[in-house]
């Protein structure tokens, strides 16, 4: 049988308590290593068992436990002595790391640096990795599933005329040709009548863009539609919704794994905090999509500043909502300012 320490480091005697598996009786004993080998010796000097330990382990009860042949177990509180005789047990580095020592300050600094590195870079690596292994068929299924659910509960078939549809489709095709391509297949346009969501357009992760009838009716100008579609396609090609999904999943799992053992309050604080941080992440995505949408509209030959006009009219009609740090979208004023700056370049 392979033992962890076939050779003792030096001769010596350890005092402690011995017991045998299957018998609860515990007796004072000595573990002796000398010229005639290693053996466990009972109270009256009788030899209980010969041999080196099969396993050694430091317990939190302040003992070092030796598993000896024949189911004997020997526990000694003389950990220093045991290490002198048998050498350091496997895993001793961990016990040493855990012991009360000024070195723990370094461990604390390591925790803070590590947590910062995960937040700053680690998450992005995880998210990119997850997106790489996501099969396009799955993303396509997400699009189809959401579209059919919308058709069941929220949307009616479009009431737009064929001429109107053809006009918007023409804008869509020229924007789709000018936009960066998506990894998940070609862009597709869908028209729906959705009174509940008003004038709106949105993109599903697989490249399906839904434009509502109200959108065409209220903001039907070619340039504004081009800007809005460019913005939505940017969400798709930059994989914004998948990134947000994977990012919140990773954050949740990492917090549950790492902070779960730290304590319940810290876990809650971190989860709430990460929810607010993820909002800022979403605002960054909106700003990025604005920038890319403006560039796409310009390449396709539309007025790049029209998107700003869209937000200006939106603001006039619906007002601005709530404090910025609690919102998924940047404030309209900021967006208008950014779009006009980019369009003027």
């Amino acid at each position: 049988m392979a033992s962890l320490a076939d050779r003792p480091v030096s001769f010596g005697t350890l005092t402690g308590v011995a017991s045998r598996a299957g018998a609860s009786h515990r007796q004072p004993a000595r573990y002796v290593i000398d010229q005639s080998g290693a053996r466990l010796v009972g109270e009256n000097g009788e030899t209980l068992v010969h041999g080196m330990p099969v396993r050694r382990e430091a317990s939190f009860g302040g003992t070092l436990d030796l598993d000896l042949p024949d189911g004997w177990r020997f526990s000694t509180e003389d950990i220093k002595g045991a290490r002198a005789v048998l050498g350091e047990e496997p895993g001793a580095w961990l016990s040493n790391l855990e012991s009360w020592h000024p070195r723990l300050v370094l461990v604390l600094i390591g925790c803070l640096l590590g947590a910062y590195a995960i937040w700053r870079w680690g998450l992005n690596v995880l998210v990119t990795l997850a997106i790489t292994v996501t099969p396009p068929t799955l993303v396509g299924a997400i699009d189809r599933g959401n579209l059919s659910a919308m058709d069941q509960f929220l949307a009616e078939p479009t009431a737009l005329s064929a001429v109107e549809q053809a006009r918007v489709r023409g804008i869509f095709d020229s924007i789709a040709a000018a936009a960066p391509q998506s990894d998940f297949g070609p862009y597709r346009l869908e028209f729906r009548d959705m009174p509940a969501v008003g004038a709106n357009a949105f993109a599903l992760p697989g490249g399906t863009v839904v434009v509502t009838d109200d959108m065409v009716a209220e903001f039907g100008g070619d340039d504004i539609l081009a800007g809005v579609i460019g913005h939505e396609l940017a969400h798709v090609s930059e994989e914004h919704s998948l990134r947000q999904l994977y990012r919140s999943l990773s954050v949740y799992l990492l917090i549950a794994l790492i902070a779960g053992d730290v304590g319940p309050i810290l876990e809650d604080v971190l989860l709430e905090g990460s929810a607010i941080v993820s909002l800022s992440y979403s605002r960054t995505h909106e700003a990025d999509a604005d920038a890319l949408g403006v560039a796409t509209a310009r390449v396709a030959g539309y007025d790049p500043a029209a998107l700003a006009e869209f937000f200006r009219r939106l603001e006039a009609e619906y007002g601005d909502g709530g404090p910025a740090w609690l919102s998924t979208h940047p404030a309209n004023a900021d967006r208008i300012e950014q779009i006009e700056r980019l369009a003027a370049e």
Partner: protein, 354 residues
């Protein structure tokens, strides 16, 4: 007639120090962070071993034997399942079907988890066991709570008792079985006292706010008038009041239920358990723990956990019929006679109820 053997009262002691746990806790944190959470499986083992190995009855210790690898496999299964579930949930109908499937799988995970934890735990070298079934868990964690809905949850204490019966009555130590038998009244008493305490605090609090004139002009706001900023503070104050009211109720309930459950639990051979947790003391420890933890940026969490473990141990005694040495010895012999049939590969180690 035989004279009944003498009953010995053995206090449970917790011997761990906050200082010793601090290093374990911080090392766990560091290694978990640098391994992207993978080490957390081993961290859990270290933490459990610290608390188990420092819990002592009559000089004999508890121990925890699960390996980091077992925990990691269990977590990997849950992890992959969670990712698949979350991604597929983005497809509406699939999400609903998966949710229902998961609901029915829940009792299975729960009974597996209870069994794994029991078998990974030993006292004085003899392992615990758990024999609760899937349908047992299905009844007490899904079916009964669902049925209690139709009694407007007035029958919920019966559900709680059934859950305790399932989780505790299914356990064994060596070959000796635990049994759980309790009247229903203590469960109602705990719930009623907790509710009463919360209601009194809310009534007093609202009366105080009323007399302080905090509700003036509120009817106009409810009728659609623009609230001025001081009035929105009222909603904050009401939320705070509910929080303050619920807390003592929670601790009263927890303390009474723990005491009841220990009293109602017996180990084959006539051995009993005593718990003497006092609600106010429990609340004081929990609240001061939370405040100290937050004020020290969580560095005192290890101290708080050790303090709570020590209090709960101090409130716990075991009544042993005859000699503890003898009892442990008999169980030890019986267990080794039929061998240790512990072969679980993986540990599903999420929240174990009571």
């Amino acid at each position: 007639m035989q004279t009944s053997p003498e009953i010995t009262l053995h206090p449970v002691k917790f011997t761990g120090s906050a200082r010793a746990y601090f290093g374990v806790w911080l090392s766990n944190l560091l290694l978990s962070v640098v391994t992207f959470g993978i080490y957390s499986a081993w961290a859990k083992v270290r933490r459990k071993r610290f608390f188990h190995q420092n819990t002592v009855i009559d000089g004999r210790r508890f121990d925890y034997h699960a390996t980091g690898k077992q925990i990691l496999i269990g977590r990997a299964v849950v992890f992959v399942g969670f990712i698949i579930y979350s991604v597929l949930s983005a497809i509406p109908l699939v999400g609903i079907v998966l949710g229902v499937a998961l609901l029915f799988a829940f009792p299975w995970f729960l009974s597996r988890s209870l069994r794994f934890n029991a078998r990974s735990t030993s006292f004085s070298g003899v392992r615990f066991g758990f024999s609760g079934t899937y349908w047992g868990a299905f009844r007490v964690y899904l079916l009964y709570p669902f049925l209690a809905l139709f009694t407007l949850y007035l029958a919920y204490p019966f559900v709680i008792r059934a859950q305790k019966n399932y989780s505790l009555g299914g356990h064994s130590y060596g070959t000796a079985k635990f049994t759980f038998e309790s009247r229903i009244w203590p469960f109602y008493k705990a719930a009623l006292l907790a509710a009463l305490c919360s209601i009194i605090i809310i009534v007093v609090g609202v009366a105080f706010m009323f007399s302080a004139g905090m509700f003036v002009g509120l009817t106009e706001v409810l009728n659609g008038a623009e609230p001025d900023p001081t009035q929105s503070l009222i909603f904050l104050a009401i939320m705070l009041l509910v929080f303050i009211a619920v807390l003592p109720g929670y601790f009263i309930y927890s303390a009474f239920i723990r005491n009841t459950v220990y009293e109602a639990t017996m180990l084959e051979g006539g051995h009993g358990f005593i718990s003497t947790v006092r609600p106010l003391r429990l609340m004081w420890i929990a609240l001061s723990n939370a405040i100290v933890s937050v004020l020290t940026l969580f560095l005192m969490v290890p101290w708080a956990e050790v303090r709570m473990a020590r209090y709960l141990a101090d409130c716990t005694d075991v009544e042993v019929v005859g000699d503890l040495n003898h009892f442990v010895g008999v169980e030890s012999d019986r267990v080794s006679a039929f061998g240790d049939a512990f072969t679980d590969m993986e540990a599903f180690d999420f929240g174990i109820p009571g």
